[in-house]
Symmetry: C2
């Protein structure tokens, strides 16, 4: 036996860690069509498939109750899971919500949280079917699992991008990260000077993008109406760079996207300027946008460009391992994953 | 508007809280056959149904890493969910495992944990299909979701007990709680005197019952072979009393069980004697046995009594709200739920 170095979790990063820990597992059930490695697992039910996805949200890691209203948090905890279901081109059907609750929470506070869960269930037509509730020694922790269905032929994976396909994103990117930066700044100022009143007017758009993300089911419907079948799809939870790399790795391809085509809201640019940072950094690495990233055949260029809220930002290449961001000057840099989850 | 009293979560108790928070939710999906309120949710797939269940396990609340080997913990985290699936008379198929990990964990420690998950997957023929991994500010937290399937006519709920049916339990009760008491005692002694060596020999049975519970799939097979169809079924996670009350509430019936018929292992009695406590208290309220509690028609008395590992402990009555424990002297006391989760 060789002596083994004890490795820290940080060294390995989230995605490397999951790959490593689950590498020895083999699937036994005929119904397991796809396990770990996409936005959701896929379970075969004959003519249709079911997708299953789950997310943890932890106080102090993923949210701060100082500036996050509990109703928004309940809504967001559901929506970030539905976003994964939609990213498989599936319709969400059921969710479970588990909570670890510390002593500081009243029943009224939890009613607020469940009010947000209920709003999301009503808006996206899903049923709350279970969960577990426990005391927690520390803060609030939330674990949501979402289940959806899709016709077998309609399912879209991240592994099916093809050379020359166009790369598209919905909405604009980086806004949620800038919203978070504003909230963190005002919290800090308040902590330094107790009488300080947080000034949040004028930041409505980016704050809403952070506190109340909306999954892009509207764009999925528009794609269907336009007769466009995406090649690969993923939701943008960890920043554009990380998601592009996921698609390239899973599809064994490369990509190039153009700096000037990446959609940024004016509000995002303005907030970035206040922090003297490049808004593109927020778009590439900020995360929590919950927009969709997908590819379409080159022949669908005109059709996809006509859909409101969709930007064509580049194309898939056959250069495996090469994920390039091309600047206005024509120079290209290799994209690196720096999502929140990987720090 | 009337002024509302702020209520604490403790006042309401776990089950009251879940009922309260989910009371405003209505199901929209045709496929949602059963939501919150049984061991698992039930999703309709035509000729068969799918059951979905989820459990949280939190360091400092549900387990103590001082005396819980990580491999055992991984195994147990899966098995407690599979136990819920089996309690619906369904076969488990897929699981997701989410982890919140504090900085103190090495990759090697997580490999140990996943070794236990893998062992459970192999033994019970289930596939690990997903999960989420996150940093945690505090201890280890585990959220597992299990999915199983059953033929529609084979599903067994907790709401289908009928008057005069016999009440049966598998195995013996209270052992896991006494195992935990021993582990807590030795931890305490070690804390008081650092050189102290924990003395665990002779407690193998009750320690194993706590650290490595086994779902009673063997009894389900034996029932099937004997042609016995249970009326209602539930797994014993919070203690016999709590589970009997769940069945009575869901089935709108009463019950009477006989003190002398409740199965206790010798090792459980001996350990209880060391703590000068009644072993029956561990059986009624200790929890974590993961045995099955079920009812069968009176006419199956002889057949069910012949199955190894099954004890007939009483019968269902039509006295709604009356759940009685009958002592050797013929006197009866009303059972109260005092499971761990409700303290």
């Amino acid at each position: 036996m060789t002596s083994k170095k004890i490795r820290s979790v940080e060294e390995m990063g989230e995605f490397g860690l999951i790959d490593h820990l689950t590498s020895g597992f083999t699937n036994r059930q005929d119904s397991t069509q796809l396990g770990v490695g996409d936005d959701a697992a896929v379970i075969d039910h004959g003519s249709y498939v079911q997708v299953v996805t789950t997310d943890l949200l932890l106080e102090g890691v993923h949210f701060d109750l100082v500036y996050t209203p509990l109703k928004h948090l309940g809504y967001k905890a559901v929506v970030v899971n539905l976003s994964d279901v939609y990213a498989m081109n599936a319709a969400p059907r059921q969710i479970t919500v588990s909570l670890g609750i510390s002593g500081k929470f009243s029943v009224e506070a939890l009613e607020e949280f469940y009010g947000g869960v209920k709003l999301a269930c009503e808006r996206f037509n899903v049923d709350l079917v279970g969960g577990d509730t426990s005391g927690s020694m520390t803060g609030l922790l939330i674990s949501v699992t979402a289940i959806g269905t899709a016709l077998k032929e309609e399912l879209i994976l991240r592994s099916t991008a093809k050379n020359n396909q166009l790369i598209c994103v919905t909405g604009d990117l980086g806004a949620a990260f800038m919203g978070l930066k504003i909230l963190e700044r005002e919290k800090q100022l308040h902590a330094e000077e107790p009488g300080f009143q947080p000034e949040l007017t004028g930041y409505d758009y980016i704050l809403e993008r952070y506190l109340k993300p909306e999954p892009r089911v509207d764009v999925l419907l528009a794609l269907k109406e336009a007769g466009i079948v995406p090649g690969a799809m993923i939701d943008i939870s960890d920043g554009l760079a990380s998601e592009l790399l996921h698609i390239c790795k899973a599809s064994e391809c490369g990509c190039q996207v153009y700096d000037e085509r990446i959609p940024l809201a004016e509000e995002t640019k303005e907030a970035a300027a206040e922090f003297q940072m490049e808004p593109m950094v927020a778009a590439l690495h900020g995360g929590e946008d919950y927009e969709l990233l997908f590819t379409v055949p080159l022949s669908d260029h005109d059709k996809v460009s006509a859909i409101e809220g969709v930007s064509v930002i580049g194309n898939i290449t056959d250069k495996k391992g090469s994920a390039l961001l091309v600047g206005n000057d024509g120079n290209a840099i290799q994209l690196q994953a720096q999502g929140w989850n990987e720090s």
